[in-house]
Symmetry: D3
Subunit: 315 residues, 6 copies
């Protein structure tokens, strides 16, 4: 229900679109990576299984270099490599890769729908959801709830610097939700206290159950615990960052200070340091559940469910 | 060390400047109220003690109506009324009111200096202070610390909607502080964790030790407790709202939504409700101490110290 | 506004009514003790200051023996003894004791009215109060709020074993409060979560700010902290147990098991031990404020305010 | 070791006994549902696989309608439907359903024994268990402990309104447990503080590790955390409510107010609202472990263990 | 009841004994400083009030330089200076100083006795006290309790590096206390959990209610809160460090690494850094009460009680 | 990288070395047990499968009796018994046991290497690790980090009574780590506050996610939570004590008091009770992750990962 993905026409096309920043959001990145490998499977070039593996690895490396922190790309790259590792000949390898990427794509579309369906159930009739930042999956869950006749209000925290929450405000109003409130990030506490439930998206999920998401998510979750309000994270499992199991920290990207305050803004003070940390980590003890395509799960079980999904995608 | 107060020339002048919003900040409001009553003492008009009392009460009422939530104005009004209640004749009453308001004015200037001196001691050499919003007293404390050769960094949270913190950034840079960082409100947690101490100003102080201050202060203090970082509030005692002892709630002003998002902003969504709560309450268990003109005090003792100050001002 | 006190006709009459358990509640006990000492001052008997002192001490000892844990009786006894200690002759001593007890009685009636007035301010318009057990002062605060046109709901927890809360339910309904809910003690959590404020009475107040009250109060307060709901205790200062400053523990009376389960009840199981602890202690960190005749105070300041009151009663 | 189940003689008999409220407790409901489907397998009627499926579905629907919140019935219904879905012909389907229900029944009896055996190990020699409400599994665990010579005390909280705990008191005394104490729900805190371990039963288990149980369980668990006392929940896995994974909330039944206070009770106050919430939810962070037929498990793993059990029952 | 103080024979003698480290413990330091000023009052030298002031100031400065962090010395020095400031002539000044120091000395001896009497009341019959490090006042409180027939056990944590707790162990055994346990600092948690009360001494008290005491006290208090066990600090008020009101931090002395591990110890590793922080700060929210000569007080009130004491000592 | 294991030459040799306390640490015990069963497989004696089983069981029983609490021995014994249970004839049984024990040994060596590799990733560049007690796996992780050029500091808490941490200090200095600090256990709090991460070893792991480790570990973890510092436990999965799933408590060994204080030490006080609890339990809510050979895992998943490992070792 979110924006349609780009229609990719080759692996290099995928890479180019990623490079040009036309792909946005963890799920679209994962699907783009699947398309890249799908086109590798279809490409005329490789004359041997080995050549196919090299091409696939090369495409994977280019995408990984462009978006090193994106778990969905890393997961698709790993699945593709394992798929080709298991193959014994060129044509069966092509077919296996085609089949794998098809499964990934089908799964990803179905996953976000399924997350939205389940999350919609968590919104109490007549209740209030507080959300931070923007996530198409969150908006999808509201749409499902509206379509089933649920009445509810949504409080959107501003989510500086980019104010992505305004996107949610707009879509909520378009779908007819009447009670859509907008508060600054600093003003979240009073709204959290009065909410029935807090919904967050995810940029990536860690093996210990921590959730990386737009900066401010941790603070929202801390305030929610203070008032005994449950927090749910909505995320397909492909966002699980398997590298964290090997001790890798989820990198919390620092972005351009200009997003926070432009140096040519009249209020800018020469010599000041503007810090633009873009993500933070919410530890699992602040999260009641992660809503995934395999249903609501405790945050501690994210790796178990990823393993199960992995076995489905790569039988 | 903050901006010089307006030179008031009559009680009505004070009221006019308050009405025109040229007076800003709890301490300046208190001093303006003292000037108003001082001019009442000096005015030619009242021909009897009773007439003087009526004039004083009328001036008090006008100021209270303009700024009903401002504790400093309420306190000065109460002191003036009690001063006149104790008098037996017109001229001694004029003299007593003149003397009272002189003491209040002297005290208030000395108080903010004293708070700055003490607070400067709380900044560790080589350490980092995190502050939220703006307060001239906080900036004064940095100035004292800089003048005594202390090196330290300051992190200023944006303090949306009005971004008053940029004022602190500018003044800190002007006084030569090298490490001045600016982070969005949503990004406070990481900076709080790494700070040695958190400094907050106050709009008013409650009998139970709660502190009303710019929206976001509560959340900063909650995060500080999570990481074991001490929080100090800098405030002269005149900001104590004695009405809270009688059960009055500190009113947490809701201001114009336009400060948060203007309706003619392209991103404004028709039908959205923009909420602009301007203050919040930080409960005393999140505050290590309030730095007052009577030194650092536990937040629970604010009423005791106010009583002592009151006896000094109105012997 | 609570039930009128007994009209005592002699010190021995007071002792008899206490012995016959016709006096109930901390405030009535304190006033009864004041009446006892007042009658001592008026009695014909004592022919010397020394005899008056002995008679007063004897009356005090009898009341203390009957109700050893009652702080109000202990306080009145101490005040009476100090009053007589300060006197130099019989007739001035009689007069001083008469005056002291008159001040105590006037103060106590005014105190509970004042507490009710202040507490009524703490009930938000359209809000919900949760209370545990019964206290006439709590009911008085509701009456004040109702008379000033406030609309609010009250949730009364059953307060087993004696279910004193039903008394509050009845009085609330009689004063026209429409939303009066009754829940079992075990069911308190959901109601606490949805309340705006929790009101508790007090049996006695401790120097460290702890509050002794009907069993269950501690648990209510713990649940309230879990959900960030403020707790206020309503109590006149005469309930402060000055003996706790000397290290005495507030004795938490164990009462007859029959109040919980009668041995002739068909469900009684031979050999079972029925425990009827009647009071518990709520530590000060769970209490936002104590509403006293000197206004709302932080629980930590109860001893300071008692000292101030003591100086008023015994100048 | 609990009361023997009813000897059911047909699927309709099961439904009738459920309708007449002769079946009580989550485990007996699950076994009753297994008997209903067993009799479906044995019934003469269905002449085709399709007819058998319809009959099974109809029986399932009737039981579900009578007890919509009962997880054990829902689980057995789902298992039966899946069993018949997998079958290709009528007779093999009958045989499979007979075998499945036999496995469920064998498993359920063994499960509660196994839970009792494991839980008995958690009672320290010379220690004290605090329990809330009644559960035959808890009593079974005491019986195992007594039979192995363990000496221990048990504190039973009253568990208003129905005081089910008196049933545990009686059975504990019958098995010779000497130290059996009974306290009101409001008085739980002091007893929890002095206990070595808290035991709770379960009505149903949620995918996020929350436990629905008799009202008051949450409060007991919160107090236990305050004093650092571990809480164990005793429950067979069949009580896992798989519907929660799809976002369904566990419905917390509101029962008749008469159970709390009858309208013809002299103390009833006309116009009062008596609320009888019968269950509450204890979140997993308050539970050290759930004792299941697969051993002690962290509450977060309940869905994993249910999946494993499901595969055993429906190979 | 602790070791008798040194019999000082001149102000210089006091200084010499301090320099030679023959004075130990906050209370003895305060009394030594009082003796120093007493001898100043008695000395033949000063021929004028000004000369007396200079001599007193010089003695004060020498003691302050030797023990800059010792609050008791600083307090006595300040009292002496204020006493001389108030005097108008030499002989009255001598007399006033003599009287002041006599009051300080009498007060200090009485204070520690009084603290012990009150603290003894806090030990429950048949209960267990856990203490950390050594304090003669703590041992005095046990002596009072033993003399009044109380039976109780004491757990002493080792208090590395100097193991001062062994001194308490010895004295407890000498006074016939039977149950005296000794555990390593790392093993405190299990003992804290089973204790009824925790007793700590104090090196100094801060205006915000924090308590500086032997390293490890903070951790003991944190563990005590985890298990809901109340913590009492035993300290005369002279240990209040009035400089903290002006923003001074209590300096947490770093002592010689050799106390922890000698460089010639065979297990010493060249290049390792041995850190010997000797004190830590326990924040007031971890302390139920401070037992002072003015009774049990909440930690937040230490400055109020010091002010009252100051007025008694320097009327 | 730790000390090489003993070269065992027979099952009886293993038992003798265990009896003589030449085997130390959970992992070496597990490998010793594997060697014992390997030699059973190779021994000439048993003439029948039944005899082999008896011999294996006898060797297992002897090791279990010597070290009843050691989970690694118990696990190897259980695996060996199950391996022989599955065998049908003598020679295949020998071969299976040989293969099993080879897998266990290979796995254990690889496991500790793998844990070290992953844990090294968790040390931030320029950061500080705080560790308690000693564990060769922890030291291995530092070695990996040093070898990859990471610069970091390590704070070692003394870990009385045996001060095992000095072993870590020595090895860290030998590998060139420059910033190695040593603090007493009582002084841990300040160092924990300033650390980036806390590393602990493990003696055994419990089904509920609790970790048994050297006494003091719980307190370190509690302090770490107070300051928001993450705690990781480094442990191979073979330390999982499967008996805890059946309700067994992890036995927290009490060792000889002489390790704490020798009775012939001059400071020993006759009649004092020296308690030497050697291990404590850290509950899972204080642990961010356990670093195992299967990567970082949430503590709650330890049983799931053990089951997976078990299936690998005993296919």
């Amino acid at each position: 229900m979110s924006l349609p993905d780009i229609e990719f026409t080759s692996a290099d096309h995928v890479i180019a679109e990623i490079r040009d920043m036309n792909v946005k959001g963890g799920s679209p990145f994962g699907r783009a990576a699947a398309w890249a490998h799908r086109w590798v499977a279809r490409e005329a070039g490789p004359a041997s299984l080995e050549a196919l593996r090299r091409r696939s690895a090369d495409v994977a490396a280019q995408m990984a270099e462009l978006k090193p922190t994106m778990a969905t790309i890393a997961n698709v790259n790993t699945l593709a490599a394992e798929c080709l590792d298991d193959a014994a000949d060129l044509e069966p390898a092509r077919a296996a890769l085609e089949a794998l990427t098809a499964r990934i794509l089908d799964h990803s579309y179905a996953a976000v729908d399924s997350v939205a369906q389940v999350a919609a159930e968590l919104i109490p009739e007549g209740g209030t959801v507080l959300m931070h930042s923007y996530s198409s999956t969150l908006v999808d869950s509201y749409r499902v709830a509206v379509q089933t006749g649920r009445r509810f209000g949504v409080v959107c925290t501003e989510s500086r610097p980019l104010r992505e929450s305004l996107n949610a405000v707009r879509l909520l109003r378009e779908m007819g939700c009447e009670d859509v409130r907008f508060v600054t990030d600093a003003a979240m506490a009073e709204s959290v206290r009065r909410a029935d439930v807090v919904f967050l998206g995810a940029d990536s999920l860690s093996v210990d159950g921590s959730v990386a998401n737009k900066i401010g998510s941790f603070t929202v979750a801390l305030v929610a615990r203070h008032y005994g309000v449950p927090v749910y994270v909505l995320s397909e499992l492909l966002k699980y960052d398997a590298r964290t199991a090997a001790g890798a920290s989820i990198e919390l990207e620092m972005r351009e200070p200009e997003e926070v305050l432009r140096a040519d803004d009249p209020v800018f003070v020469p010599g000041m340091t503007v810090v633009n940390q873009f993500f933070d980590l919410t530890p699992p003890e602040l999260v009641r559940g992660i809503v995934t395509e395999r249903g609501v799960i405790p945050p501690y079980l994210v790796s178990s469910h990823w393993d199960a999904l992995r076995r489905e995608l790569l039988p």
